[in-house]
């Protein structure tokens, strides 16, 4: 059953969370511009590798062979990521039911592949199109990446050497794919349409087998780059909203939230009490003030597991334990910071950091952790980053206004909360 818009809006006002308005009842269908988001321990191929997901918001995405409505596959456990742009489905997660169409280089006619860099590695794979459905909305001919696609052949040295390990399996990737819904409309944008970076080029045209012999770094028009799927919609395409309920205590087994397409474009996707903060148009960062220090290149990132920031007063967890890479204060600490856009007033944000080792040990079946923090090697990075990861999203509606689009009178890129 689809509730009429007025009824949905009233329900939202009363209850606060769309998911609580019948999305979980099994008897109603969410409106087409909304998608249920679930935090759990991740896809089967991840769990069977001995790793479970933490603070990872997942959606399902359906891929169909271009032009077909029957040659399709629905892929679960695709990470919703405000910290990247574009859809990527790991090849291992594809059943073969849908046949994505390779995108080719206009000059050579050879298929395109992309080298996507992570902080902890890289993902090499083909660039292709498919007819994609997310929630109730279709995106025909969406350009996306298939990390680990054997058709890409071997990665050229410029990609595979000096960029860490290959992360192109589900176990390494941490999910079946990623739905990058960050500020930009394409992953690289105009720069890669006109220039090939001297080192670490993202796009290559490759003949069979790939490698240094077969691959040449190329420019790619923006229309052929993996693009922000929500920006490609014909309506509700000015941005997204992520809504999650608060998580009580230190952990939860599952959390259900909602990804909403569009901002102020439907009766039920307005800003509410949130305010919008413009972000840096070149790299999507804004400023955080914390502990007397300014972190000018801060990000709000649903793809980050924790609040990542430098605070030498909070001890790190022991390297050999389950909390490795996170903070382990003796008892939960409360902290305050201020987030400020490139214009407008700052907004104070209160948050907590719990002892990650104790939290993980106490709840081995949990998937959501609202007070998870982690260090940057106790350093302030050169660009000064405070990474507001997934814990920031619990109990909030967070809005992302895309570049070259606007929400009300505010021009994107902008962040709202």
């Amino acid at each position: 059953m689809i509730l009429p818009r007025a009824a949905r809006a009233g329900c939202l006002a009363l209850v606060g969370w769309l998911a609580a308005c019948g999305g979980d009842s099994g008897s109603s269908t969410p409106p087409p511009h909304t998608v249920p988001v679930t935090l759990d321990q991740g896809p089967a191929a991840l769990i069977s590798s001995g790793t479970v997901a933490a603070n990872a918001p997942f959606v399902s995405v359906t891929l169909c062979t271009p032009g077909s409505t029957t040659a399709c596959q629905t892929i679960d456990h695709v990470l919703v990521d405000t910290g990247s742009v574009g859809l990527r489905i790991v090849h291992e997660a594809l059943s073969g039911a849908a046949a994505p169409k390779p995108v080719t280089d206009a000059h050579s006619g050879l298929p395109l592949s992309e080298c996507l860099l992570f902080a902890d590695g890289f993902a090499w794979g083909s660039v292709a199109t498919a007819d994609v459905t997310i929630g109730g909305r279709a995106i025909p001919g969406l350009v996306f990446q298939i990390p680990g696609d054997p058709a890409s052949g071997t990665a050229p040295n410029a990609c595979s050497s000096g960029n860490g390990p290959d992360e192109s399996t589900v176990a390494q990737f941490g999910s079946n794919g990623v739905l990058g819904v960050g500020y930009f409309l394409e992953d690289c944008g105009a720069f890669c349409a006109s220039q090939v970076p001297s080192g670490g080029a993202p796009f290559y045209a490759c003949s069979a087998g790939g490698g240094d012999q077969g691959c040449t770094a190329v420019t790619v028009p923006t229309a052929n780059q993996p693009s922000n799927p929500i920006g490609q919609l014909s309506t509700d395409n000015n941005g997204i909203q992520l809504r999650f309920p608060p998580v009580a205590g230190d952990s939860a087994t599952t959390v259900s939230g909602t990804l909403v397409f569009g901002i102020g474009t439907e009766d039920d996707n307005g800003l509410g009490s949130a305010t919008l903060h413009p972000v840096d148009a070149t790299d999507g960062t804004l400023s955080t003030s914390y502990g007397g220090t300014s972190f000018p290149s801060s990000v709000i990132d649903s793809g980050s597991t924790a609040y990542y920031f430098a605070d030498s007063s909070i001890p790190e967890c022991p390297g050999g334990g389950p909390g490795r890479g996170f903070y382990c204060p003796a008892s939960t600490v409360a902290r305050n910071a201020t987030i400020t856009g490139t214009s407008g007033p700052g907004v104070p944000v209160a948050f907590s950091v719990a002892n990650a080792e104790q939290v993980f040990t106490a709840a081995p079946s949990a998937a959501a952790f609202p007070a998870l923090g982690g260090p940057f090697g106790n350093l302030q990075l050169p660009s000064g980053t405070f990474d507001w990861g997934m814990p920031f999203f619990f109990g909030r509606s967070v809005f992302v206004v895309f570049e070259n689009r606007s929400a009300g009178s505010v021009q994107g890129p902008a962040l709202g909360f």
Partner: protein, 166 residues
């Protein structure tokens, strides 16, 4: 974690061999063999090699009481900074750029430690940090930008704190 002593030893051996070669041959090797170059933990000369290999302009050198700062601009407008201590050894590298510099180039023999830790890293792809007694690295990777800091605590000049690295 890979034994850092082993990794460093291997890098040093290769570097010594390269230094014996003719300069022109050296330049040719630098273009072909990224694994043979090193910066972090290596000597001042490697900074110049790094800059060429990264396609960056010749570094601007600033001297302070405790260290030399070699700052290079990369082709995409980014910056790579390499810190050299009084003994002439690169003890820290930092970068902030649209496109990430080659980490093997910047980290030299310590790249093996990064690689090993990154293989065991399962908590997200946008931030990464490792702190060991001998080697500290933090990386942030955004869709349109990369920033990072790596240093060798044992080689920090006396009285200098890692927080001073920019």
């Amino acid at each position: 974690m890979t034994d850092p002593g082993l990794a460093r030893g291997g890098g040093r051996t290769i570097f010594r061999k390269i230094r014996m070669l003719h300069r022109a041959t050296l330049l040719g090797l630098l273009m072909l063999a990224p694994a043979a170059r090193a910066a972090l933990g290596e000597n001042r000369a490697s900074v110049q090699a790094d800059s060429r290999a990264l396609g960056a302009a010749t570094p601007v050198v600033t001297s302070t009481e405790r260290y030399e700062l070699h700052e290079s601009r990369t082709a995409d407008g980014g910056v790579v900074r390499q810190y050299v201590n009084a003994q002439g050894t690169v003890f820290a590298v930092t970068w902030s750029a649209r496109f990430r510099p080659n980490l093997q180039q910047l980290l030299g023999a310590h790249y093996a430690e990064y690689l090993s830790a990154a293989r065991g890293h399962t908590t997200g792809h946008h931030v990464f940090s490792v702190t060991t007694p001998g080697f500290v690295i933090g990386i942030v990777q955004r869709p349109r930008g990369s920033a990072g800091t790596a240093h060798l605590p044992a080689l920090l000049p006396a009285g200098m704190r890692a927080e001073e690295l920019r």
